[in-house]
Symmetry: C2
Subunit: 347 residues, 2 copies
């Protein structure tokens, strides 16, 4: 078992090290919308009964219409993490002919992860015994790779790959019988970037979508996978029956059919507030998405510690010591609190 990656949300540990009670910290270490959408009514039977086919189908149809995935009914999964962990098994299963699903010999298969990016992809494949190439450009993904991962827009730098570039990569992967995973966890702010509407024509493509980040409901544990039916059937079979909770399905079926423009407007407003605070303190914005902003600064580590002393938690990166990632502030008061703390940092 490899060591777990430290994810956003380490407020308890930060408060233990720098003081204050966790509730009083300003947590900017995640990429989750800080203004959770109001919950729709959840019928009693949704809590009471096992999630049934009808409820699952309702959520799948709402997701299809929301993500515009055409003929593909997205598969609800208990968070993208759950299917990231199944990718090694999918590659194994694709190689086997006539074997059972989880018993294979060790091979020299390689995986490409366009990097730097979200760390759980490399971790899942390395744990399963695969060799992972962290490549910094799509051109470095070669015929020797059984599967390639692109996070689009990328986390944490916000880099965007145009749809046509990704489709060309898909076609190359497909020609060598490989798979392309495109993680659109931060794709909700700009739906035009999504490959979802092309997925039914791209047989070797797997798209992951996150429900919790955009709607501010990460506690629900819900994401969707969009891919050809035999891949979704494998995921469904491996996750097993009732993998997603009833409340998550019910909330998704409702919110994915609601008007999301106020949510998008609020996120954009919060993003502008965050940018104002960062620029007001003279920081250099080097990337990001609507849900987080990346700052590059030679003294990033000192700024990180300085903010901790003000009980504000952001993300730093072992592999890029000049980077800091700021999640959205929940309101203008938090913008001011962040701005004032940053302005007290002595250069």
């Amino acid at each position: 078992m490899s060591a777990p990656i430290v994810h956003g949300g380490g407020i308890t540990a930060a408060a233990a090290a720098f003081g204050g009670s966790p509730e009083d910290w300003l947590d900017l270490s995640t990429g989750i919308n800080p203004c959770p959408v109001a919950l729709p009514d959840i019928p009693v039977r949704v809590w009471h009964r096992l999630p049934d086919r009808h409820l699952i189908d309702e959520a799948r149809r709402a997701a299809r219409d929301h993500y515009r995935s055409g003929e593909i009914l997205p598969l609800p999964v208990p968070g993208t993490q759950s299917v990231i962990q199944l990718l090694p098994r999918l590659v194994d299963a694709g190689r086997l002919v006539g074997g059972t699903d989880n018993r294979v010999a060790v091979t020299d298969d390689r995986i490409a992860v366009v990097s730097p990016t979200y760390g759980e992809y490399a971790r899942a494949f390395v744990s399963a015994g695969f060799a992972v190439d962290a490549v910094d450009d799509l051109a470095a993904v070669g015929a020797g790779h059984r599967l390639a991962v692109v996070v689009n827009p990328n986390n944490p730098d916000g880099l965007i790959w145009p749809a046509e570039t990704l489709i060309a990569l898909h076609d190359r992967m497909k020609a060598a019988d490989g798979l392309l995973v495109v993680d659109e966890a931060f794709g909700d702010a700009d739906p035009a970037l999504s490959l979802a509407s092309r997925a039914s024509q791209l047989s070797n493509l797997i798209i992951f979508r996150s429900f919790g980040k955009f709607f501010g409901l990460a506690g629900l544990r819900l994401g969707f996978a969009i891919a050809r039916s035999d891949i979704l059937t494998r995921f469904e079979d491996w996750l097993g029956p009732w993998a997603v909770s009833g409340p998550a399905l019910s909330i998704a079926a409702s919110l994915l059919r609601s008007d999301i423009s106020p949510i998008r407007g609020r996120i954009n407003e919060r993003c502008a507030g965050l940018h104002g605070a960062l620029k007001g303190a003279g920081l250099q914005i080097s990337g990001g998405t609507a849900l987080f902003t990346l700052v590059a600064d030679a003294r990033a580590d000192d700024i990180y510690t300085h903010l901790c002393r003000h009980h504000i938690l952001v993300r730093k990166f072992d592999y890029a010591p000049e980077w800091l990632r700021f999640g959205l502030t929940p309101d203008p008061a938090a913008d001011r609190r962040l701005g004032e703390a940053l302005q007290r940092f002595e250069r």
Copy 2:
């Protein structure tokens, strides 16, 4: 992929075949408490944030005190199903020395499942390429079995194995380096039967508990695993971070610390109501637990169809055509509805 087992909850299919709208059917096909417990308040942050260590630890401590597992902090899992599916991997991992976790050669390992019982155990092991022996007595579990499964009380017959008998089986399994799984999904009505308080002394024992059945909240997807720490750590690692939703953890932390005697009282009252309806119609009760009752009748299949015509769904069993399992009725009116329908059955 093996064919999915038909579980309780097939009201939609039954209504399609026999008419009526699903809401008007009386669903007695599950083993879930039909009177869901009132939900405690769920703080907004629980919906909003990824389930953090603090929330998970709260639920684990509440489960430890509730199940009396002593030194062992039960591991929350997204339904028992999720860990049933990991058992083949656990057996594989136990056999490997120095290998990676999910890449092994096919072997002739055998698994014992004390049967008839809940079908997902055999299905999970057969899908993973294991040979499964359905044994009808603990004495038939031999040294050749890498893992044995006992559901206690058993589903659907309610058979109970005394703690000392199971401990003796554990000791035999342990002597041959095997594991014993005891599924106590229906163990809440009689906590004295549970091995949880002995688990810290039984190193090769794994206990599964269900949260949703007793509390009537199956939509939550929550169960607990109780075992020695390296086994729980493996499950935790394989399930990955944030496997259980925040609302499920929060509700469990609250309800597992509440006074459950009114729930137990209500279940016993409902069980008495169900028994009255069955006996009043001259049916023979041959087993069961507080949450379901097993009836044996030579015309079980005809009774099943007759009840479907009255829009009442119960469970029948391919392997035991004389059995019918009745879940609890939600109220006295449902007792009367069931009793009247049964009395109209013509012998």
